[in-house]
């Protein structure tokens, strides 16, 4: 058999296995029907009418200032949140971080906000825009934006269709994310609904939720930070004039 034939036969076998598994599922579900009926009757007697499946309610909880809430939630998982008034101030904050970490190499995502802020940074550090391994592995800081932030849990949500974020937010030991205040939502449910409303095909190939730095408790349940991903996470929120 040549390669092509081999692949075709593998394909045929795959179809056969798929049919088999689906048939097994249907066969067992059918066999279960009489038991299901008895159980349903039992439940009905016990708890009255069976509640129909209602859609998930999105809770619009009392809106305690989302940015303050995000700040608190992120701090609880060991991340840092800095609220600034404009992108110039954001650039200054990033610059301070670069100096503080003595960073030589910086990986940045292609988000417009990141480009805009980084253009205002005065630093000798090398900036890598389209980083690939192995160069990426030598970077000291990764800078990205995020498409959403969740106040309730201190979570960043990054969508690959909006931003090349997968490696720059993951590989360097320090991750800095720059977002605007308008991107902060109260709950994860709100963000999931917003993502869902983009419709099929609108969904990014990869959506990443990030809540605090990388952590593990695999040795005697002792917390250790930065095992594979970044050990430090800074979120800079540009809140505009008159922010709290």
């Amino acid at each position: 058999m040549n390669d092509r034939e081999e692949k075709l036969s593998a394909h045929g076998q795959n179809d056969e296995v798929r049919r088999d598994i689906l048939a097994a599922i249907r066969r067992h579900l059918t066999a279960s029907a009489p038991f299901d009926a008895v159980r349903a009757e039992h439940h009905a007697q016990e708890s009255g009418a069976h509640a129909p499946l209602a859609p998930v309610a999105v809770t619009h909880a009392p809106v305690a200032a989302p940015i303050a809430r995000f700040h608190e939630a992120l701090a609880a998982v060991g991340g840092h949140c800095v609220v600034v008034s404009d992108d110039r101030a954001a650039a200054e904050t990033v610059q301070q971080l670069i100096e503080q970490k003595q960073a030589q190499r910086i990986a940045v995502s292609d988000a417009p906000l990141v480009q805009k802020v980084c253009a205002q940074i005065k630093s000798d550090a090398l900036v890598f825009a389209q980083t690939e391994p192995p160069a990426l592995f030598d970077c000291d800081i990764g800078i990205t934006s995020a498409q959403w932030a969740v106040a309730e849990t201190g979570t960043l949500v990054l969508e690959s269709d909006c931003e090349r974020h997968r490696l720059s937010s993951l590989v360097p030991p320090v991750h800095v994310a720059i977002i605007e205040a308008a991107q902060v939502r109260q709950t994860l449910g709100e963000v999931l609904h917003a993502i869902n409303e983009q419709g099929p095909g609108g969904l990014s190939r990869t959506v990443t939720f990030i809540t605090g730095p990388s952590r593990t408790s695999d040795i005697e349940l002792t917390l250790a930070i930065g095992v594979h991903g970044p050990g430090e996470l800074y979120v800079i929120i540009i809140a505009g004039e008159g922010h709290d």
Binding site: V77, P200, L203, R205, V207, I219
Partner: protein
Amino acid sequence: MNQPTSETFDQNARAALLDPQLRGALRNLAHTFGERRKVAITTVDDWEGLRERARAIKDETLAHLDKYLVDFADNAARAGAQIHWARDGAEACALVIRLLHERQATQVVKSKSMATEEIHLNKALEAAGLAPVETDLGEWIIQLADETPSHIVVPAIHKSKRQIAELFAEKIGIEPTDDVAVLTGAARRILRQRFVEAEAGISGVNFGVAETGTFLILENEGNARLTTSLPKMHIALMGIEKIIPRLVDLDVFLKLLPRSGTGQRLTSYQSLITGVKRSPEDEGPEEVHIILMDNGRSAMLGHPVTRQSLACIRCGACLNACPVYQQIGGHAYGSVYPGPIGAVITPQLIGIGKAAQLPYASSLCGACREVCPVKIDIPELLLHLRAEVAEGTARGTAEQTRPVKHKLVEHLIFRLYAFAWSRPMLYEWGARLLRVLQRPVVRDGRIGKASSVMAKLAPPLGAWTAWRDARPFAPRTFREQWRDGLADKK
């Protein structure tokens, strides 16, 4: 490696009870995760409502699993993922090997996945010369030690810091240290190199969304993100029960799973992956393969009681809460799925004959049912499986291993008891006779270890008094007292 099997559960458990280091680790686990969970579940408004909701979603999905599974496969394929089907573990292993061969990939990294543990994928890959590197810290530790996981969430919970330090000193040549941060740093350094070289990454799946074809991986370390982002090929192994209907259903499960498992509001990372990248310039693998595996799952759909097993989201809460697991740990179960959920899943996966003792590895206290985020009635499942074992023993189809063999003696005793109980005269005279016969074994008004004659004279009865005293028969029975005028004293 010489790991115990489910067939010898009784002996495994006895051995585990004699291991003080293990029991210390388990106390730490039960306390730490137990307390964290208690706090975490107060951070949602309606925990009970969420559990109900999650179970309703799972029930709905399982009742129409054929439809949702096809939706998932079609939508994932539309987004560019390649879908494969495997009836059992052997087929799944063969598929992974074939895919790696086709890509000519030999450097393989892996993130934590119970499904791959279940089918012993690593052994199969090693045999094919494709040994993968486990990258989750706990999984890497037990891979270095050539052991199996002893917990669903924290696989190396049975190992002490000292043992891990010695293991690292031996296998990777670092100075032994008590500092967890140093141990973790060494793992990061070495595994980074493996990630750079990796040609393929293998992961599990926590949830598969039917409506979009998206699959999710939850983690804290970032190794699953590296495994699914860096290599050119990604293979995800997914049990067919991982399906949920809609993307927004994740709101429910993402609230339940981390809180139940580790007491976190959310784990550090969730990756939602839909198909393969759109253009070559995008980040991520060139090929994404999803293997949909049955391996005994479809058979669990055949009865509403066993079907509950498929609602499990592998959080590990029932292990942490179980008074049996807390004493004996995971290895005694002889299965990658230990604890209460393991005691019900394992017999269904490997056959009740090979795990006949596991449904008895419980006091039926119900702690597992209390903490289960998807409200699986594990005690009900245990009883269901016990009935199967008992019927199997009666038919002679289940293997006659301890304690199943004891059940035969038990059966005889209860038959005798029932015979006497239903004949008042025989019952009364029997009681009087036993009152006399018990005299040699009663000490200080008790039948217990102090007398020890019991154990020597009658082994099956001796088992009763090995750990606790029994009450002797009263000098006068209730019926005698009644006849002598107890009724009139009222």
